[in-house]
């Protein structure tokens, strides 16, 4: 469970998050939507500790974020663009992350097998194709069986087979009670996966509810049109 209270962040004169309040529950997939520049990535990066908010509080479980890095043991993150050290192999990077976390960790190799990455394990990461690197990002995010999964546009470079393997894995993780946050521009995917939709506009939350509620309130029958209508109504009232 993640609770965010009155979060503010600006970059120079640009106000990105303007008093954002949000609670994200465990055991559900929460999709964060919004037009470009609405603050989705800033919100995600604030939870990850990559961006330091100006004001406000983020609470993960019982822990209020205060600069201590240990809370990130429970987080798996998949970046929008995965770039890795060119001369290291997937094996090296997995060992490195394991080493950095220290101690004994149960690693989840199932996804690695499903993606058939076995023969890529020892190749230099610089030689892998974009789609394969995207698979690597998914594997690394889920490697330590984290309680919280944060995925930034996860399926944008995956082929249909990999994409459905990935979605099945997400649904499994949800059943295991994980907190899952994702951003996406592919509405059909959000419709398929998300239990909660958070619609962000100008650094504030304009809507938070289930996809069914969007259909109800907008009178549209698919998410793409529902969201589009909501954007139009809020931006040009």
């Amino acid at each position: 469970m993640i609770v965010i209270r009155e979060l503010y962040k600006s970059f120079g004169a640009l106000q990105v998050l303007t008093g954002l309040n949000l609670s994200i529950e465990a055991g559900r997939i929460t999709a964060i939507l919004g037009p470009n520049g609405s603050g989705k990535t800033t919100l995600i990066k604030s939870i990850l500790g990559l961006v330091k908010p100006d004001r406000g509080e983020i609470k993960i479980g019982e822990q209020v974020l205060n600069g201590d890095c240990r809370y990130r043991e429970n987080i798996g993150y998949m970046p929008q663009i995965g770039r890795y050290p060119e001369n290291l192999s997937l094996n090296d990077v997995m060992m490195m992350l394991q080493d950095l976390r220290g101690g004994e960790h149960q690693t989840d190799m199932e996804l690695l097998k499903k993606f058939r990455l076995g023969k890529e394990m020892d190749k230099a990461l610089g030689t892998l194709s974009g789609g394969t690197r995207q698979k690597v990002s998914v594997v690394l995010a889920m490697l330590f069986n984290p309680k919280i999964l944060i995925l930034d546009e996860p399926t944008s470079g995956l082929d249909p087979v990999a994409s459905s393997i990935f979605k099945d894995a997400l649904i499994e993780e949800r059943a295991a009670g994980k907190t899952i946050i994702l951003t996406s521009h592919i509405m059909s995917e959000v419709e398929e996966l998300a239990d909660e939709v958070v619609f962000l506009l100008d650094g504030k939350i304009r809507f938070h509810g289930s996809p069914a509620e969007i259909f109800q309130s907008t009178g549209e029958s698919n998410l793409e049109r529902g969201i589009a209508r909501m954007m139009v109504e809020t931006v040009y009232p």
Partner: protein
Amino acid sequence: MRTTGKIIKYEMRDIARSKFVLFYFLFFLLLTEGLLRFGGGSTKTLISLSNVVLLVIPLMAIIFGAMYLYHSREFTELLLTQPVNRHQLFRGLYLGLAVPLAFSYGAGLGLPFLFHGFNAASDVALLLVMIGSGIFLTFIFTALAFWISVTCNERVKGLGFSIVLWLFFAVIYDGLVLLVVAWFADYPLEKAVITFTIFNPLDLARILLLLQMDASALMGYTGAVFQRFFGSLWGIGIATVALVGWTAIPFWLGLRRFARKDF
């Protein structure tokens, strides 16, 4: 500290496998070997090397340092989402890059001498000073590169600024010093010139080398002043402190920026 060590270990593995460091090592190895073989004697070789060392090391350290950090930005971000402290990560990234660079320089320069031997006993000291000041320059210019690329988000701007900074220390600074010396030729400038030297790590390294070469006699009166100052224990102490400062201050500025930065 343990995290820092782990970062160093894997970054060094990445860098050791990159062709750049291999070329860097081979460049110094072949250059030294060639000069020793065809240039005649260790003394002449060392004098020829000193110019190359003073220009190539800062340039390579600042360019490679900035490029490496810009290039690995996404991976640095991923590492920051692990339970890792930012200070430790920065230290690891810095040492993981500076140590292999310094090592391939030191080994590339030193190995041929071990093989060929020396003409004069004083050449041993000169070689050690050359390797030492080269290692200092590697750490200094890598720290400057890290500071620049952490501060400046745009890759092209950052690389451009790195080159300009190198050009400033390698060429422009000396030109300005000469200009000042020419303008104020009527005044005693010895102390001022020594001070100017301290504010440029490249000049500092150059003076330390020149004084080992007995070439300071060629520099006339200024050379004598330098010899008296930097030849004394007091002067050597100040030069070392200045070089340490030139390493520590850019590193600290970069670290501070890195710890507060929004990625």
